[in-house]
C-alpha cells in the first residue's frame, strides 16, 4: 500500500498507508488525520481539503482540474503548489509522497 505522509502546519507528521484507488482526502479523513475536513465528501465542491504538494511531486500528482482551480480561488493562503486532496487519486507511484496541511481550512 502506498505510504503517504501528512504534515500538519505545526510540523506534526502522520505516516499513513492509503489504499490505491482512494484519494488523498479520504486517506486523511478516514484515518483521523486532523487538518483536512472534506466537507463535500470529495466532490471538489467545498475546498476544505486544501493541501500543499512539494515541487518534486508535482509531476506524478498532476495538474489542477478546472473545477479544482475554481474552488481554490476561494481558499485561504493559496500557493502555486496548492491542491485539493480529494482530486488526487492514490496509486503506487505516490508511495512516499509528503504533503503539507495549511494552518486551517476555510
Amino acid at each position: 500500500m502506498p505510504k503517504i505522509t501528512y504534515v500538519e502546519s505545526d510540523g506534526n507528521r502522520h505516516e499513513i498507508d492509503v489504499d490505491a484507488g482512494w484519494n488523498l482526502m479520504d486517506g486523511a479523513v478516514k484515518n483521523g488525520v486532523p487538518g483536512i475536513d472534506g466537507d463535500c465528501g470529495g466532490n471538489c465542491a467545498c475546498a476544505t481539503c486544501h493541501i500543499f504538494v512539494s515541487a518534486e511531486w508535482a509531476e506524478v500528482t498532476g495538474e489542477r482540474t478546472e473545477a479544482e482551480q475554481e474552488m481554490l480561488e476561494f481558499a485561504e493562503n493559496v500557493q502555486s503548489n496548492s491542491r485539493l486532496a480529494c482530486q488526487i487519486e492514490v496509486d503506487d507511484r505516490l508511495d512516499g509522497l509528503v504533503v503539507h496541511l495549511p494552518e486551517s481550512q476555510y
Partner: protein, 421 residues
C-alpha cells in the same frame, strides 16, 4: 404574531396529485409540517415541477446527489439575477427594489472578484482576532440572563450576539446593532397584516432608511484611511470601490442577512434540538469536546436556509426530465440534509455522528457560504460559555417559527434557566 401561531391544519400530502405539490408553501415551514412533502419528492419525484404557485413555476431538486450536481454546475445553473423564489404578481416576479445586485446572485467573473474582497474579513486568520471579542460579549450576555423565570432566547441571546458580531464586522456603533437585526428581518419578510411589515410601501420605506444609513457609512469610510471593517474594505478595494450604489447596498444586504438570520436561527435551534433530545444534551454535558460536532449537527438538522434558487441557462436533461432554458430551479438543502441514502438516520439529531461536517447547509461549489467559519465560531463560543455557567436550559413552550420557505428559523422561543452552576 397571530398568523404564524394559527392551528396546524392537517394536510394529506400523500393524497395530493404530484403536480399539485408546492414544496415552497411557507405555511408548512411555519408549522413544521414540511417533512412529508420532501420525503415523497425524494421517493417519487426527485426532480419535480410545480407549474403554478404564488412564487411562479419552479423545479424542486430534493436528493443529495442531484443538489450537489446542480450546485457545482454554475454554467448550466446560474445564480443570476437572484437566489430566492419571488412572489409573482400577474405572472411577473415582484422585486421590491429593482437593480439591487449582490455577489451571491452573480456568476463568474464578477462574483469571484467581489467575493475575494469580502472573504478576508471572515477568514480563519481574521476570526482568530475576533474570537476574544465575541467570547467577551457572549459571556456578558449570558451573565445578564434572568434565572428561574421565562425569557425569549431569540431576543436576549441569539439576536444579541449575532447583532454584536455583525456590528463589529461592519464597523457600525454597537448602539445601532439591533437596527441591523431589524433590517435583516424586514428584508426577508413578506408584507402582510400583523406581520413585521404590513405593506409593500412600508417595506420600501425601510429599505430606504437602511440604504441611507449605509450610504452615510460608505461616505465616511471612503474619506478615511482604510480600516479592517467590511464597509471600509468595500470602499477602498480596487475590485469594489467603483460599485454602483445599488450594488454596494445589495452586498450590504447580503452580509446583513447572511451574517444574521442564519447563525441566529442555529443558535436557537441548538437549544431546541437539545431539549427535544435529552440524551444528546446529557452526552454534550458529559463530553464538552463534542461541541464542534454538535454545532455541525445542529447546522445540518436546522438547515437555516432551506433552499437556493438557480436559473437554467440552457435546455438540460436532468434526472429524466427536461429543464428548459430560463426555468427556475430550487435546490432543497433541507431535503438533501435528510436524504437517507447519504446520511444515516437523517431525521435523528445525533451530536456524535461519524462525519458531522457532511451536510448541505452551507451549499457547495463557488457560492459555498463564505461566513461558515464565523457561524461555527459563534455557536461554539456561546455553548462553551453557556455550559460553564448553566446546568440546564429548558425550553418551556414550542417556539414560534418563521413564515418563510427560505429562512428556516424562529421568531421567538421561551426558555427558563433554573440555576447557575
Amino acid at each position: 404574531m397571530s398568523d404564524v401561531a394559527a392551528p396546524v391544519e392537517v394536510e394529506d400530502v400523500a393524497a395530493l396529485p404530484l403536480e399539485e405539490l408546492h414544496p415552497a408553501k411557507a405555511k408548512r415551514f411555519a408549522n413544521d409540517t414540511l417533512w412529508p412533502v420532501f420525503e415523497r419528492l425524494r421517493r417519487e419525484a426527485p426532480v419535480h415541477y410545480t407549474p403554478e404557485s404564488e412564487v411562479g413555476a419552479y423545479w424542486s431538486i430534493s436528493r443529495w446527489d442531484d443538489i450537489m450536481a446542480v450546485d457545482t454546475d454554475h454554467k448550466t445553473f446560474s445564480s443570476e439575477p437572484n437566489i430566492t423564489l419571488l412572489p409573482h404578481v400577474d405572472g411577473q416576479a415582484d422585486v421590491t427594489v429593482p437593480g439591487l445586485a449582490m455577489f451571491i446572485a452573480m456568476d463568474p467573473p464578477k462574483h469571484d472578484i467581489q467575493r475575494k474582497t469580502v472573504s478576508p474579513a471572515v477568514s480563519p486568520t481574521n476570526l482568530k482576532l475576533l474570537e476574544p471579542l465575541i467570547r467577551e460579549r457572549a459571556a456578558k450576555i449570558l451573565d445578564s440572563l434572568p434565572i428561574g423565570e421565562p425569557f425569549d432566547w431569540v431576543d436576549l441571546v441569539s439576536k444579541e450576539l449575532t447583532a454584536m458580531t455583525l456590528a463589529t464586522l461592519f464597523g457600525v456603533p454597537q448602539e445601532y446593532r439591533r437596527l441591523l437585526t431589524h433590517w435583516s428581518d424586514i428584508v426577508t419578510a413578506q408584507p402582510g397584516p400583523g406581520r413585521i411589515v404590513e405593506t409593500r410601501e412600508e417595506k420600501i420605506q425601510v429599505f430606504q432608511d437602511y440604504h441611507a444609513y449605509f450610504t452615510k457609512l460608505w461616505n465616511e469610510r471612503v474619506n478615511a484611511e482604510p480600516t479592517g471593517d467590511l464597509i471600509s474594505m468595500l470602499a477602498h478595494s480596487p475590485a469594489t470601490r467603483n460599485m454602483s450604489p445599488l450594488e454596494f447596498f445589495g452586498n450590504v444586504i447580503l452580509l446583513t442577512v447572511g451574517g444574521n438570520d442564519t447563525t441566529r436561527n442555529t443558535m436557537t435551534g441548538s437549544v431546541y434540538a437539545l431539549n427535544k433530545n435529552p440524551d444528546e444534551f446529557a452526552k454534550l454535558k458529559a463530553s464538552p469536546e463534542l461541541l464542534p460536532s454538535m454545532v455541525s449537527e445542529t447546522i445540518r438538522w436546522q438547515t437555516p436556509l432551506a433552499y437556493m434558487k438557480r436559473r437554467a441557462t440552457r435546455d438540460v436533461e436532468f434526472g429524466g426530465k427536461t429543464i428548459r432554458e430560463g426555468d427556475t430551479v430550487a435546490m432543497w438543502y433541507v431535503s438533501g440534509n435528510r436524504d437517507e441514502s447519504v446520511i444515516d438516520r437523517p431525521n435523528d439529531y445525533i451530536i456524535d455522528r461519524e462525519r458531522p461536517r457532511q451536510h448541505m447547509s452551507f451549499g457547495f461549489g463557488i457560492h459555498r457560504c463564505v461566513g461558515n467559519r464565523l457561524a461555527e465560531l459563534q455557536l461554539q463560543i456561546v455553548w462553551e460559555e453557556a455550559l460553564k455557567r448553566f446546568p440546564d436550559i429548558v425550553v418551556v413552550e414550542e417556539p414560534v417559527r418563521v413564515l418563510s420557505s427560505f429562512v428556516k428559523g424562529y421568531e421567538s422561543m421561551q426558555v427558563v434557566i433554573p440555576a447557575r452552576h
